[in-house]
């Protein structure tokens, strides 16, 4: 491979890297994406596929809504289907505390112009008769949508390539040096060759591994790797259009057009980013199925055919790190999406592209500055115990009861 000289080098070919490449190409920049595996081969290709607006944190909602505007017309721009469907999103409450959360979410959402309907138990069960009476209330947001996550990153990569981007799979970024006002990116390929890429700007879109890249520039992103447990059933006749989501995240499910029901349930599992493979422990599978049957009894008649998870970067305040580096001009971070990078991706990409191309962005990204980790007292407190759990090994010989 000959030496590459570009305006922007992007480390990571997940959906963030590919969307950013596309956005930069549209602004006339020359771009190379360096992906050590396959485009979309990590968390981007395996997500639940939900573009959820309802219940997004108030600080994130403005950016989420900008992202949603992009999603709504993206297929025309890409020239291919990524199975975008505006199915809506339903939060379910199983108790009074949940109900209060629905009401507060609805207030926030409506203040931003979202169409949200609150339903009591009777209305909920009449509207979705497959739910059990454990559900005490629901809130229904109609603008939320889904896409097929497997198609997203490759589609953006193709679109970027059509506009001139170079998308390199199989190149790991080993280290980056600076010289003459440029980044000298040293790659490593499976066959042992070590390509060098020179760029004016560098984007850190390395997902669960972005802290390593940041560290090379003296920056600390307090990142840890985790993955949500996902299950999928055999295809069954359509019964549930919107994404259904118990508001504490203990169970969520959606039915694909093909009929398969995808099931997820927090807490997410801590995973080892170094192994680059993660699995769902069987106990976790059983627990999530038990929770599902409790609220959708008819699911007991069906079978689960596969589980999976992905390796994703989280930070404790569950908000992305998005914007310029605090130490190095020309370096931009777009990482730590903490479970909702698919939804936010298009707006995050535009923000980075505008910063690079125009020096400023109209996207509301101020709260996501990396410097928030250095300041004290402004972190959103969040109980980790509620959101995460270690991968609990099954009790030897025991039942999961």
């Amino acid at each position: 491979m000959s030496a590459i000289d570009v305006d922007v080098a992007i480390v990571g070919g997940g959906l963030i890297g590919c969307m950013t490449a596309f956005a930069l190409c549209k602004r006339g920049r020359s771009v190379v994406v360096l992906e050590r595996g396959r485009v979309g081969g990590e968390s981007s290709g395996v997500s639940f596929g939900s573009l959820r607006l309802q219940g997004q944190h108030a600080v994130e909602l403005p950016l989420a809504l900008r992202a949603h505007e992009i999603w709504e017309t993206i297929e025309e721009e890409l020239g291919e289907s990524i199975q975008f469907a505006r199915h809506g999103h339903v939060h379910l409450a199983l108790n009074d505390e949940h109900r209060a959360r629905l009401e507060s979410n609805a207030r926030h959402g409506r203040a931003h112009g979202m169409d949200i309907t609150l339903l009591d138990r009777e209305m909920t069960l009449r509207r979705w008769p497959f739910l059990s009476d454990k559900v005490v209330a629901a809130s229904w947001s109609t603008r939320d949508a889904v896409v097929n996550p497997r198609l997203v990153a490759p589609a953006f990569a193709r679109a970027a390539r059509r506009l001139g981007a170079t998308i390199h799979e199989g190149i790991e970024v080993a280290r980056v040096e600076q010289g003459g006002g440029r980044f000298i990116v040293h790659g490593r390929m499976r066959d042992g060759s070590e390509p060098v890429i020179s760029s004016a700007a560098l984007v850190n879109a390395a997902g669960a591994w972005s802290d390593t890249l940041a560290a090379q520039f003296g920056e600390t992103i307090p990142l840890f790797a985790a993955g949500p447990a996902e299950l999928v059933t055999e295809p069954i006749p359509p019964f549930a259009a919107p994404v259904m989501h118990v508001v504490d995240g203990s169970i969520l499910f959606r039915q694909t057009d093909r009929g398969n029901v995808i099931i997820a349930g927090h807490p997410r599992m801590k995973v080892d980013a170094e192994t680059r493979r993660a699995r769902v422990p069987p106990d976790k599978i059983l627990i999530n199925l038990a929770r599902l049957v409790a609220i959708v009894p008819r699911m007991r008649a069906h079978a689960v055919i596969r589980s999976w998870t992905g390796i994703e970067g989280y930070v404790e305040d569950m908000m992305p790190v998005l914007g310029p580096s605090s130490t190095t001009p020309g370096l931009y971070h777009a990482c730590a999406f903490s479970g909702h990078g698919l939804q936010m991706g298009p707006a995050a990409a535009v923000a980075i592209a505008e910063l690079i191309a125009d020096g400023a962005t109209t996207m509301p990204i101020a709260p996501f500055d990396i410097r928030r980790f250095y300041a004290t007292g402004q972190q959103r407190t969040l109980s980790l115990a509620e959101e995460f759990q270690a991968d609990v090994l099954p009790p030897r010989d025991g039942l999961v009861r």
């Binding site: 069987p282 059983l286 199925l289 038990a290 049957v293 596969r306 099954p394 009790p395 030897r396 999961v400």
Partner: protein, 455 residues
């Protein structure tokens, strides 16, 4: 006491359990089927008056010995028939049995999970009336059922001749045996096959018996299509240097040998490697079957080797597990076992030549042919996905783009065909290949199973 869990009650699993049951370890034998036997020694359902002696002919003695041994072994161990092992994690196997989920911890795990049919898609292979070769045999041995009145047995497998003979014995009519491997390849394989003269002799015997009964045997033909509207009515094939032939039938038994069931090994953390001779991925093991920390693989689940090799490898795996656990056994003559296994493996290598997997066919099939029957994905859709990837695609990427391998069988049946399409597109050297990755559950898991789990 240390616990050894054996998965599979076929020749490999029972042989392993037999050795283990004499040592001072606790032994559990898990099998999805209601009766011991695996595929090879499958026994009829209770109450079915099937004359196995007549059906199996000279094979009956081995069958009878196996079942006597199995009955005695199973009475000495914690034998759990009708139990699916659907996951392995953290030193325990996860089981589903009679609507309940259980976990069983192990100190050593012997995986004797056997094999399933390997299929190369052809036009019409999903028509009703088309069965896999192993499936057709299973129906016969388990239920006493024939798949049709006039059956074409085809593909490339030593089981072609055995299945055809058994069908005749059971009163079926064989319209033809179509062997897709050329006779010249069979001759080329002869030196290796002489490593197991008895098995070779049995095979030749079956061929001769078929000829005597006037069954038409076609060598080296290409299977063009299975034809029919509502169900299969004919097989169209082209013998070497001849015009295509159309053979009427009402059922087809079809297969290209076997594919090891490696899912549990993968979940248990074993490394898999592409085996160029068998043209499939197999767990990496030493000769005794050590496949990782506390994990052992025996029988066809490791390397397709047939019933006899399976039993030998089962004994070796048990001895290896015992020795690694610090227990001893004098029941196994390791050196003799290893020698025999090597001899049988050489024979199997011969079989892989004599009954070739026609991988190149994947490149010739029409776009309309269904590759993945669970998700109804055609060759054309797969090729289009490959084209989008600049003409070279990896199997998991194709799966993500097309759903091929995403259905109920999780790629167990479309996987081999998909691997060939991908290999052809990527011009893989044949040694290094990607494969569809496995996650639990390895087979569909009824959700009702979780009902009494406390969330």
């Amino acid at each position: 006491m240390a616990r050894v869990v054996v998965i599979g009650a076929g020749p490999a699993g029972i042989a392993a359990a037999e050795v283990l049951s004499r040592a001072s370890v606790e032994v559990a034998v898990i099998d999805e089927a209601p009766r011991a036997g695996g595929q090879y020694h499958r026994a009829p359902a209770p109450g079915l008056a099937l004359d196995m002696r007549r059906l199996l002919g000279t094979g009956y003695a081995a069958y009878e010995t196996f079942h006597n041994d199995a009955a005695s072994v199973c009475s000495r161990v914690d034998y759990r028939p009708g139990t699916l092992a659907w996951g392995v994690h953290g030193g325990a196997v996860h089981l589903a049995s009679r609507g309940a989920a259980k976990a069983l911890g192990y100190d050593a795990l012997v995986l004797a999970t056997g094999a399933t049919d390997r299929i190369m898609p052809v036009p019409g292979w999903t028509l009703p009336g088309v069965f896999t070769l192993g499936g057709a045999q299973a129906l016969l041995k388990d239920q006493g059922c024939l798949i049709g009145r006039r059956v074409v047995v085809c593909g490339s497998s030593p089981l072609l001749y055995l299945a055809a003979v058994q069908y005749l014995r059971a009163g079926g009519e064989i319209a033809a045996v179509i062997d897709t491997t050329r006779f010249a390849d069979k001759l080329r394989a002869l030196p290796d096959m002489l490593a197991a003269p008895r098995v070779l002799r049995d095979g030749l015997h079956h061929m001769a018996a078929l000829k005597r009964r006037g069954v038409r045997i076609i060598h080296g033909a290409t299977i063009d299509a299975f034809e029919g509207e509502e169900r299969v009515g004919a097989v169209v094939c082209t013998p070497p240097n001849r015009m295509p032939l159309r053979i009427a039938c009402d059922a087809v038994a079809y297969g290209h040998g076997l594919r090891p069931e490696t899912q549990l090994a993968e979940l248990a953390g074993c490394a898999l490697r592409f085996d160029a001779a068998q043209r499939t991925h197999v767990p990496e093991t030493d000769l005794d079957g050590r496949a990782g920390q506390g994990v052992y693989v025996a029988g066809d689940g490791g390397t397709i080797g047939g019933g006899q090799a399976a039993a030998v490898s089962g004994r070796l795996a048990a001895a290896a597990a015992l020795s690694d656990l610090g227990a001893t056994t004098n029941d196994v003559d390791l050196e003799a076992g290893r020698r025999m296994l090597q001899r049988l493996r050489r024979f199997q290598r011969g079989l892989a030549t004599a009954f070739r997997w026609p991988g190149e066919r994947a490149g010739q099939l029409d776009d309309a042919v269904i590759l993945c029957r669970c998700e109804n994905v055609t060759m054309g859709e797969v090729r289009a996905a490959i084209a989008l990837e600049d003409g070279a695609a990896e199997v998991n990427r194709i799966k993500a783009a097309t759903r091929c391998g995403m259905g109920r069988c999780q790629g167990r049946f479309c996987g081999p065909g998909l691997a060939e399409v991908a290999a052809i597109s990527a011009q893989h050297p044949g040694s290094e290949r990607d494969r569809l990755r496995v996650q639990a559950p390895i087979k569909p898991l009824p959700i009702a199973l979780a009902e009494d789990v406390v969330p």
